[in-house]
């Protein structure tokens, strides 16, 4: 770039020198005073013009290299001076030669030369100062811009730092434990709550596999069982025999390409919650037993009356004793259901899983309920293929489920209705699908999701024989889910209802939970 500038600058000098020399050469014959004055003017003009044009060209070449300028500085100023000085060398001989040709006394010539020199110096300094000012301005702008950018960067950095501090403060103050692991299962971060809950130290853990040196094997499931978004892990304290129950909610972290890069686990201590559940379950169980005792006493006492062991009863007496008996049975059923449900909810119900034929259970249930169905002239039909494979299930519990579903169907189906109990193999689901369909009053769509809730009664009850504990379907759902199956209902108002449940062909092996 410097070379370009020099070339342009020199070309400027040469062209100017040529241009100013021309009239001089043409007018050399007459040496009048006017001619001398002209020559002087030309000399001064040549010098000033040369300096000006040199500087202008220099500036022009500077601007043309604006891009480069940004990176340059005032250190370029001496270069400008040098360029001008170099050019002065070129034209000075021409000027001196012109001066020599003038008919002047040496003192006069010296004065002229001094004057020219002063003018040149002043003009040059003036121009240099202008350039210097311009350069300083530009430099100042660049510096200002840089300073602004730096300030923005600094602010952004501070903002990020503040945000980071806030995030860290939040993570450190939340009661939930937070563990972040990378895709190799190494701990990237864990907050104090996680350290406390897992009884480990972050400094020891970061960068190491979560499972390393951890005695509690359940923790391994934190990283390995990432498929389960929610899981409970039981930790035994090292110091004493107390156990803590942690609920881990896991989420997989993926990058923009969807590749798994790690996992974040949120741990909450649900020990107290579990203790309360346990207390609730024990309370329900205790209340259940306590309620059962007087019911049993009443039932036996009543049976002595109704069996007329204590003497004959009139028809009226029998009728009212019957009412007492029916309601005692109902109360007993309610307590049984409550106890069942409390057991199921406390995960205390153990299944006796044995390969069984669902067809046989359907047959038994239908036979036992047939008499009741006949009182309403309801026909129960069964559709069970002969080649249906045996599936592992708890016969007593599935009998309870089917009794409940077929019983419900009888309750909610008007006289002359039809009930169909069907079982078939679903290869895709790897399960036996059992359904109980009726031609009953049906259930509104919006009520379907509420069906399996406790004490949930949907729609309007009209028939007087529709009574129950309100727990049957909740128990059904728990039992089926304990079998790793699913249960749901399909229905249209006035069209009937179809309850469906699945029983997997194989049951997962029982997980061993330590302690």
């Amino acid at each position: 770039m410097r070379l370009t500038r020099m070339v342009i600058g020199h070309l400027g000098w040469i062209s100017l020198a040529g241009f100013s020399a021309a009239p001089w050469a043409f007018g050399a014959a007459s040496a009048s005073e006017t001619e001398q004055t002209m020559r002087m003017a030309i000399i001064v003009g040549t010098v000033l013009g040369a300096v000006l044009i040199g500087l202008l060209l220099y500036q022009f070449s500077q601007r043309s290299s604006q891009a480069q300028f940004k990176g340059s500085s005032v250190s370029e100023l001496p270069a400008a001076r040098a360029a001008v000085a170099e050019d002065t060398k070129l034209f000075m001989p021409v000027v001196l030669e012109q001066l020599n040709q003038l008919a002047m006394a040496p003192e006069q010539r010296q004065r002229v030369a001094r004057t020219v020199s002063e003018i040149v110096t002043q003009t040059f300094e003036k121009q240099v100062n202008t350039v210097k000012r311009q350069l300083n301005d530009q430099y100042g702008q660049v510096i200002e811009e840089k300073r602004r950018n730096e300030a923005i960067l600094q602010r952004k950095y501070q903002d990020t730092l503040t945000e980071k501090k806030q995030t860290v403060a939040i993570l450190e103050s939340i009661a939930e434990g937070l563990v972040v692991v990378n895709n190799r299962g190494e701990v990237v971060m864990m907050n104090p709550a996680a350290e406390r809950l897992l009884a480990v130290n972050q400094q020891e853990r970061v960068g190491k596999p979560l499972t390393e040196n951890l005695r509690d094997e359940q923790l391994v499931s934190l990283v390995k069982g990432s498929k389960d978004h929610n899981q409970e892990i039981v930790l035994s304290a090292k110091q004493d025999r107390t156990k803590r129950v942690l609920r881990a909610s896991n989420a997989v972290i993926t990058d923009e390409n969807g590749t798994t890069v790690g996992m974040v686990a949120v741990l909450s201590d649900v020990t107290r919650q579990r203790e309360l559940d346990q207390l609730k379950s024990e309370f329900v169980s205790k209340v259940g037993h306590e309620l059962r005792t007087p019911i049993v006493a009443m039932r036996h006492a009543l049976s002595i009356l109704t069996d007329q062991v204590a003497g004959p009863m009139s028809e009226e007496q029998q009728k009212f004793a019957g009412i007492v008996q029916r309601n005692l049975e109902r109360l007993g059923a309610l307590i049984n259901d409550l106890l069942d449900l409390s057991k199921l909810e406390a995960h205390k119900m153990e299944l006796r899983l044995e390969p069984n034929a669902i067809g046989a259970v359907i047959q038994t249930v239908c036979d036992s309920l047939d008499a009741w169905a006949k009182t309403k002239a309801i026909a129960i039909s069964k559709r069970v293929p002969d080649d249906l494979p045996a599936v592992p299930f708890d016969q007593a519990r599935i009998t309870q489920v089917l009794t409940n579903l077929v019983g419900n169907a009888i309750k909610f189906t008007p006289k002359q209705g039809r009930i169909t109990v069907e079982a078939k193999l679903d290869q895709e689901q790897q399960a036996v699908v059992v359904s109980v369909s009726d031609t009953g009053i049906g259930i509104a769509k919006e009520d379907l999701p509420k069906l399996f809730n406790k004490f949930q009664q949907v729609g309007e009850r009209t028939a007087s024989d529709i009574s129950g504990t309100g727990l049957g379907l909740a128990i059904t759902k728990e039992i089926i889910e304990l079998h790793h199956g699913r249960v749901w209902a399909e229905s249209e108002l006035q069209q009937g209802t179809r309850f469906v449940f699945t029983l997997p062909l194989t049951q997962p092996s029982v997980a061993v939970t330590p302690g």
């Binding site: 059962r292 006493a297 036996h300 062991v309 007993g332």
Partner: protein, 132 residues
């Protein structure tokens, strides 16, 4: 005529015991009731009973403890253990090891109770249920 079978019902739930006693009496048995395990041990010691209905859940002296004390001096008396349903805590193995002739859940019907009683009596060499 067969001698009358003498039944001892040990249960803190007197309303339950009353019904069972009435029922058994109506079927020709001679029935005595005891509310406490300690009373039962004393009565058995007197040796006036042929068979025992023993409630497993009793305050103070439990059914198991009562049976253990009885078995310390009487190893032949037929004993029917009366249980409530949902008797999760009862260790049936412990009770069985002490020698029992049968179990009757309190929720059972009176005819079921009769059945358990008759089976226990028949299995005993010298005792027979009254003819009905």
């Amino acid at each position: 005529m067969d001698p009358t079978i003498r039944v001892l019902i040990v249960d803190d739930e007197q309303d339950f015991a009353e019904s069972v006693a009435f029922w058994l009496s109506s079927k020709g048995y001679e029935v005595t009731k005891a509310e406490r395990g300690a009373t039962a041990v004393e009565l058995v010691m007197e040796g006036r009973h042929d068979i025992l209905f023993l409630d497993i859940n009793m305050p103070q002296m439990s059914g198991i403890e009562t049976l253990r004390r009885i078995r310390a001096f009487n190893k032949t008396l037929p004993v029917i253990v009366v249980t409530a349903a949902y008797e999760d805590e009862t260790n049936f193995a412990d009770v069985n090891a002490l020698g029992v002739s049968g179990f009757f859940p309190k929720e059972g019907t009176m005819s079921q109770l009769m059945h358990v009683l008759e089976v226990a009596l028949r299995s005993h060499r010298t005792l027979k249920p009254p003819a009905t």
